[in-house]
């Protein structure tokens, strides 16, 4: 059974059809890349899957169960976690605190126990803090753990975004342009992390513009243009696909 299956997903705003009958599936931990020119509907797809938008047509199935219409917190609780295209972090808290905040889904004790400061709660909190540090270590941000999130350079903020998503114990993680604005070193690190995630059994859906990342890390790629899927296949196949080349070149021409 596919982890995530999307069938004929459609959304229309007013007169504009932002996404038109897009289908895809994500089996077994693997890395699925979603590429396409700007405005193709990639982030819209993420918004739909994660519950921030309601589709006007189509199905979204998580492990065979329909999750269309679920609100974002419920989707996250199922293990389908997303990051955002913008640098969305808790700007005034430290990196560690950010990740601890994000560990909401990971708790064993309830809020009342928290207010009463019971032993079980304290143990729970320690476990959360420990796990947060593990994530910081995994993302190689140890030096930055007490830095204030808002003061971090751009690349680190993106890493923090990914770290927070990891704190939600995802089974599938949806990364929205994680490499945006990153330099070559950071990008290489990112690719390594994505591979490691796949090894740990976490599925990855990746929206990216950076072709090195996409071609280097994805097992399977789908290409969107104007809200429709125009191609899918392995990186090699996509690189040779004429429709894809045309879609990208075509849009480049419009710019120049």
């Amino acid at each position: 059974m596919a982890l995530l299956e999307i069938r004929d997903l459609t959304i229309t705003f007013g007169g504009l059809t932002a996404l038109n009958k897009v289908s895809l599936h994500l089996n077994e931990p693997s890395v699925l890349g979603i590429i396409g020119p700007n405005g193709a509907g990639k982030t819209t797809l993420f918004n739909l899957v994660s519950g921030f938008l309601h589709p006007t047509g189509g199905e979204i199935l998580w492990r065979g169960k329909n999750i269309k219409g679920l609100k974002p917190p419920r989707v996250a609780a199922l293990g389908l976690v997303r990051t955002f295209q913008a640098n969305l972090v808790y700007r005034d808290a430290s990196v560690l605190e950010n990740i601890i905040r994000a560990s909401y889904l990971h708790v064993q004790t309830n809020l009342l126990q928290g207010v009463l400061n019971t032993k079980a709660y304290r143990r729970d909190e320690e476990a959360i803090a420990r796990r947060a540090r593990e994530i910081i270590h995994f993302m190689e941000m140890d030096d930055w753990s007490s830095a204030v999130a808002g003061s971090l350079p751009h690349g680190l903020q993106r890493k923090l975004g990914i770290s927070m998503a990891l704190a939600c114990a995802p089974k599938v993680i949806m990364l929205d342009e994680p490499a945006a604005g990153m330099n070559a070193t950071d990008t290489a690190h990112l690719m390594e992390k994505i591979r490691q995630l796949r090894e740990e059994g976490i599925g990855v859906m990746l929206v990216e513009h950076d072709m090195r990342v996409v071609m280097g890390v994805c097992d399977h790629i789908i290409v969107l243009n104007y809200g429709q899927k125009i191609a899918e296949g392995t990186p090699r196949e996509i690189q040779k696909d004429e429709r894809v080349i045309e879609a990208y070149l075509g849009s480049e021409e419009a710019v120049t």
Partner: protein, 342 residues
């Protein structure tokens, strides 16, 4: 914001206990009972301000908090006078009634964002006030309710002077403070801050917005109800126009002046200082009061954004001329960026 380390927490508890002892000794040293009135009113304000600040954590700006004070008061008065309940029972029931009302109201209105929520709370406050004015049989209309019974004696203590009231409000304020402190410094506080800072991010991490907003609203209004009940049996009379928009704005002013980075110390400081100041203005200079409050609030917003409770920290930093720009936002306690940045 990190929850304070064990060291810091211990210090806070010790410091607060010391303060509490001092507060309890005040009537012993204060000869003029009249001044106890200021402190009693400060206590009531403090409870309101703490509750208001808790809501602010989630990005909820309430302009109707005084209305809940009034509802608590009227509820308690009616329970005591119509049903003959003792004050102590009425106190608890008023709090619970407020909590229930907040829960029901909250389920409906808490989905509204920022300014819309503020407008609804103030519309609600006005609706309630007009209700008091017009439903004369139950609420006494313009003349309100008078002859509210004093609290029945307990443990041999009779409520015939300000002193027992003083200790009661100290108890209630302390209780509220402890609960608020624990909420703010535990996971609940973390969740509230997350939601207030970025609802989208919080949702994507599994936090249900409505559930937590309703939770905080219920708790906040519960305490407002308790404060209201106390007020009714302290004044022994209630007037509808004491719980309007103006009074809600005062709650905001006191809390902001005190400092909303903390849920306990800031609001308490603000409540005490501004209540005392406002009592000083009464009589001679009552005309100056609004002007002063307005100016003071604006000055605080621009020059001391962390409020009065951040003053010791600011002074220390100025003396040491320490510059920690990355942390200055946190020190000011403002969640969404700092004043003056563009």
């Amino acid at each position: 914001m990190k929850s304070p380390s064990d060291e810091a927490q211990k210090r806070t508890w010790m410091g607060s206990s010391l303060l509490l002892v001092v507060v309890c000794l005040v009537p012993v040293f204060m000869k003029e009972q009249y001044y106890l009135h200021f402190l009693i009113m400060s206590g009531v304000s403090a409870i309101l301000c703490m509750g208001w600040t808790l809501l602010l954590r989630l990005g909820l700006f309430s302009l109707g908090h005084a209305a809940f004070l009034g509802i608590g008061g009227y509820c308690s008065a009616i329970l005591a006078m119509r049903l003959g309940l003792s004050f102590w029972l009425a106190l608890l029931l008023s709090g619970l009634f407020n909590a229930l009302l907040a829960f029901c109201l909250g389920m409906i209105i808490l989905r509204l964002k920022g300014i819309y929520f503020a407008v609804v709370t103030f519309a609600f406050g006005e609706v309630v006030r007009i209700l008091y004015l017009n439903w004369t049989s139950l609420f006494g209309g313009f003349t309100g309710i008078s002859g509210i019974p004093r609290p029945t004696p307990v443990l041999g203590v009779v409520f015939d002077s300000k002193i027992p009231y003083y200790y009661l409000i100290v108890l209630l304020t302390t209780l509220t403070a402890v609960v608020m402190y624990r909420i703010d410094h535990s996971r609940a506080g973390r969740i509230f801050r997350a939601i207030g800072h970025s609802a989208d991010l919080a949702q994507s991490q599994g936090m249900d917005l409505r559930k937590h907003k309703v939770m905080s609203f219920t708790v906040s209004c519960f305490f407002a109800g308790i404060a209201g009940s106390f007020l009714a049996h302290y004044y022994t009379s209630l007037y509808p126009n004491e719980f309007g928009v103006w009074d809600s704005i005062l709650v905001q002013i006191k809390a902001t002046v005190g400092g909303v980075a903390t849920v306990v110390s800031g609001p308490i400081v603000g409540a005490v200082v501004m209540t005392v100041v406002s009592e000083l203005f009464r009589g001679y200079m009552s005309a100056l009061e609004p002007l002063f409050f307005g100016i003071f609030l604006i000055l605080v917003v621009f020059f001391l954004p962390g409020g009065l409770q951040s003053l010791p920290g600011v002074i220390r930093r100025v003396l040491r001329t320490e510059k920690t720009p990355a942390f200055s936002n946190r020190a000011k306690g403002l969640e969404n960026g700092s004043l003056g940045d563009s």
